[in-house]
Point group: C2
Chain length 268, copies 2
DNA sequence: TAGTGGTCTAGACCACCTC
DNA sequence: AGGTGGTCTAGACCACTAC
């Protein structure tokens, strides 16, 4: 389970690493030193094979290591490239601020404000509650829930998926939740207008490598984890919704303000 | 950069995957279905090689995929094992609650309450501010800062590292920050007693694959991302500290309560 | 000592991109 | 057509763990 520890030999100043690690270490050093900052392409496998006096397969092992670290990417027919990032910052403590309710498309507003072009596909489903949702909504596992699902893009790059589950009892009170179209005024306002007010949230944030399905939906390359954000919304009585957002970890960051900052943290 | 999309052939019902992916897909299905739930060991490479009629190297490619997804681990001489997790949940909105100041070792308390054995190593350093710290503390890049660094273990498993930086101007006012030992009453209380009160925090949460250095410190296997938590603490005037916590992503989850939940979210 | 995974090689053929 | 990475093989030898 644990990575191999560097071994020390009495006849060598430093530990003896396998050749493919030497390749990876050398290239990693060059990358962080900015050796490929213009034309971000790396030398081809055969060039590296000659340079390191290693077989093509050994060089490939070293490159695979850097890919799995998220440092570089590869494309068939094109070569290897140093990865570059632009991170989108989401202020989760403001996102649906209790004192400043949005109309539900904070995402569109935020992305447009950042000078980017948002785009999303949307669908509504009725399905039995999965375990992690049933727990949070405090309903029976497998009981009926409505899922409102969003697949979000920024400038046509897949950015995140968002799945919001509503419990059956709430649907009976507020049937428009189960209708396929958008809710113009936003689900939060629609619910509030029907006397169901969200007075608080519980957020859980975790990370892991994507499932093959997630990697497909978000077009994630190897070496990129997902950031999982699970928000459970509560009325005065009980949980009323559970939203699971899956972010590409290389493109997103979540922020929270706690206490009275009054805009003092605007630098980030 | 993007993962290969499944291809569809007119003469086959489903897309033709490379053999190593078929191996990975078959084993992944068996793993999630619980086929290895007792004795979590997988068959050996040579057994799988026979079963899938593939060379040992091809089987290894498939297994490597599962390792990089964080599903299994491998150890020389032992074999492959299904990974199992236990997640530690940290309530960040309560961690240093403004209305309920701790004595600085919330970590020790939380871990002990969970019936686990905490352990940490600690050191203090004086060093020039790295870029991401200088920005957040609003000091010159490279200006003097004090780093208080913690390496934390739970039951002797490396859990997280925590680096807190204090700006030079604060050290002059509160010199004990630069002293090597623990501060008994906690740094927050020490600072408050000297008239420097933290009135709010700005938290940033991100994820990525670990650097080799992080993988070494936290003894992380392949296929496990880190969860990065950067907390900048503010007094009424300006930033007074910046804490960067690096978690093993497979062992930790962060929680926030927003609004008035009054313990309604105790299920998680 | 036997069995496990870890490293490395040499070579074949395929799929994709650019020209 | 020529260069790039992607897949696959067969085999050699090493390092670690168990018995």
């Amino acid at each position: 389970m644990y990575q191999q520890v560097a071994r020390v030999r009495h006849d060598e100043p430093m530990s003896k690493q396998p050749k493919y690690r030497q390749v990876a270490d050398a290239l990693r050093r060059e990358i962080v030193n900015g050796a490929f900052d213009h034309d971000r392409r790396l030398p081809s496998e055969s060039e590296l094979s000659a340079r390191f006096e290693a077989s093509r397969n050994t060089v490939r092992s070293g490159l695979a290591l850097l890919v799995s670290e998220g440092l570089i990417t590869s494309s068939q027919g094109l070569g290897y490239e140093v990865r570059s990032h632009e991170v989108f910052k989401l202020n989760a403590s403001r996102f649906e601020n209790l004192n400043f309710p949005h109309n539900g498309d904070a995402y569109n507003t935020d992305v447009t404000n950042a000078g980017r072009r948002p785009h999303q596909t949307f669908r509504v489903e009725m399905l039995p509650a999965p375990e992690e949702v049933a727990e949070r909504l405090r309903v029976e596992l497998g009981s009926k829930t409505v899922l409102r699902f969003c697949h979000r893009y920024v400038d046509d790059v897949p950015w995140s998926t968002q799945a919001t589950y509503y419990p059956a009892w709430l649907i009976e009170e507020s049937p428009r939740l189960a209708e396929p179209g958008d809710i113009e005024e936003g689900t939060t306002r629609y619910l509030a207008a029907r006397g169901v007010e969200q007075i608080g949230y519980f957020d859980e944030i975790a990370t892991r490598m994507p499932t093959p399905e997630e990697a497909r939906l978000l077009e994630m390359g190897a070496g990129v984890p997902v950031l999982l954000w699970t928000r459970t919304g509560y009325s005065a009585d009980r949980p009323i919704r559970c939203t699971i957002t899956t972010f590409r970890g290389d493109l997103n960051q979540m922020n929270y303000e706690i206490g009275d900052l009054a805009g003092r943290s605007e630098n980030t």
